[in-house]
């Protein structure tokens, strides 16, 4: 799975958690989940749970802590998907 494929699917994973649809459409590595997409920090765990199901991976607590912008999310997911 390429980074581009991951980022495209990530849009769908993140969609239910943001009201900022414009920002979502232009999602890129620098997009910050909290500052740009205005996602409630408490809800980040829901995105991680959904990503686990979507990519059929397990994201441990330490890796999850790194997932603050789209780039770092893709890094973690890319790593887990391709390690399988």
């Amino acid at each position: 799975m390429t980074r581009e494929e991951i980022i495209n699917e990530l849009k769908n994973v993140v969609a239910p958690y943001t009201n900022n649809k414009e920002m979502l459409a232009g999602l890129n590595d620098q997009t910050d989940l909290i500052a740009d997409l205005k996602i409630n920090s408490a809800n980040l765990v829901d995105i991680i749970i959904d990503a686990e199901a979507k990519y059929n991976i397990e994201i441990d607590y330490d890796s999850a802590d790194k997932m603050i912008n789209v780039g770092s999310c893709v890094d973690v997911i890319y790593d887990k998907v391709n390690k399988k």
Partner: protein, 424 residues
């Protein structure tokens, strides 16, 4: 003296109508919201009927953001949000606010959190999948879930509190909001209550053998307050919400005024003198009604209508006895009395707020709603009051003062006095 408190907005999610126009039509025409519930038959409950609002979950998208909607599981939250936001809009107020509304608080009650949502959490945890619960469970199983969703949506910044006093909850929430405004601590209070009777709470009531069980094949006949064939109450779900405002504050913004809260009282019989966990001490009931009338500054003879607690159990006749003794009125001199529960069943914590809305509608439109299923009034009740006091068809009548009471497990009582708004 304190400030005068008026009602400026109402919203309702009732088994016989969602929204004020549908609900008004239902109570004027004696439309029942009680239906057979196949799941209860499957679970082998003795009572297989219930009052459940014809609620469309999708409709919530008109009230809350998509993000908030996604992951919402609590039905009591859905009912409460709908009633509260409808009441807010009915008062002519906008939903969105950038800053907290410091002048407005919220007292919203429920008798229990949504047990179905709780069960979802328990299932995942017992299955060693607690990490899959995500971030939205706590906010939906805490006691203050409904209040938190409502106050958060509207940005309410004054006192925000969740009250719980079993079946007296709804009337109590209105009383608490009324008192807070009366003493000048808030200009506006959004008050009410919401209840979703899931199978778990329902089953426990069924086990107590206090529910109707002889009319499973005729659901609309099952709730029979004050009748000789009253055989237990019919559980119901729903929510009611009211916007209360300081009169001067309401007048200053040219708000439409529906009615006035003249006074009220809330007490307990202490589970003494015949009172218990499940039965009221008659002295407690009498004191509660007496103090409500005194605080309203009305004479017992001024009361045009009583909206009773009247659940369709043995207790109905004791309730009538209490009213009669406190008001010193009997026979044909007794006020009109009705029980909304004949149409929607007993919505527990929501009963007080939905029934209060019915009271206010009867004041606005000057009528007494019918008691359905009262073709066979209890002879012991007829020994106290005239049959004419318990109309079975809607009657048009001048209604100025209405007394509304509810009594709950734990021997708690709550009584409110509403009146037509007089500009003087």
């Amino acid at each position: 003296m304190g400030k005068r408190v008026v009602i400026t907005g109402m919203g309702v999610v009732s088994p016989n109508g969602i929204g004020i126009p549908a609900f008004l039509n239902a109570i004027q025409n004696g439309i029942s919201g009680i239906k057979f519930v196949p799941l209860y038959e499957e679970l082998q409950f003795a009572c297989q009927v219930a009052g459940k609002p014809d609620f469309e979950w999708e409709n919530l998208k008109n009230y809350i953001s998509e993000v908030s909607y996604h992951g919402l599981k609590g039905t009591n939250i859905a009912y409460g949000l709908t009633a509260a936001l409808d009441a807010w809009a009915d008062a002519g107020l906008p939903y969105d606010a950038d800053e907290a509304r410091w002048e407005t608080g919220c007292v919203f009650g429920n008798s229990a959190p949504d047990a179905e949502a709780t069960k979802f959490a328990i299932g995942k945890i017992d299955n060693k999948e607690s990490r899959k619960l995500g971030s939205r469970m706590v906010e939906q199983v805490m006691n203050s879930s409904v209040t938190s969703y409502v106050s958060g949506r509207l940005g309410l910044g004054n006192k925000v509190i969740t009250n719980s006093s079993a079946c007296a909850t709804g009337t109590q929430s209105i009383l608490m909001g009324y008192e807070y405004i009366k003493y000048g601590l808030a200009d506006r209070m959004l008050v009410g209550s919401s209840e979703y009777i899931d199978t778990y709470i329902y089953g426990a009531f069924d086990a107590m053998r206090v529910l109707s069980r002889k009319f499973n094949d005729q659901p609309e006949k099952a709730s029979r307050p004050m009748s000789a064939t009253a055989g237990g109450f019919v559980p119901g779900s729903g929510a009611g919400a009211l916007v209360l405002e300081d009169l001067d504050f309401a007048l200053a913004r040219n708000a439409r005024i529906y009615a006035e809260v003249l006074g009220g009282s809330c007490n307990s019989g202490g589970q003494r003198g015949g009172g218990s966990m499940t039965a009221p001490n008659p002295q407690g009931v009498a004191r509660c009604i007496d103090m409500a009338i005194a605080s309203a500054g009305v004479n017992p003879n001024d009361i045009d209508l009583i909206s009773g607690h009247l659940t369709a159990t043995m207790a109905d006749k004791f309730e009538i006895q209490n009213w009669s003794q406190v008001l010193r009125r009997s026979g044909k001199n007794f006020p009109h009395i009705n029980s909304l529960k004949s149409m929607i069943g007993h919505t527990l914590s929501a009963a007080g707020s939905i029934e209060s809305i019915a009271c206010i509608l009867q004041i606005i439109h000057q009528f007494v709603h019918p008691n359905i299923n009262l073709e066979d009034p209890n002879p012991e009740i007829l020994d106290i009051i005239s049959q004419d006091c318990m109309p079975t068809k809607m009657i048009n009548k001048e209604i100025n003062v209405v007394a509304k009471a509810n009594f709950g497990f734990g021997d708690v009582n709550s009584c409110l006095i509403f009146s037509k708004y007089n500009n003087q």
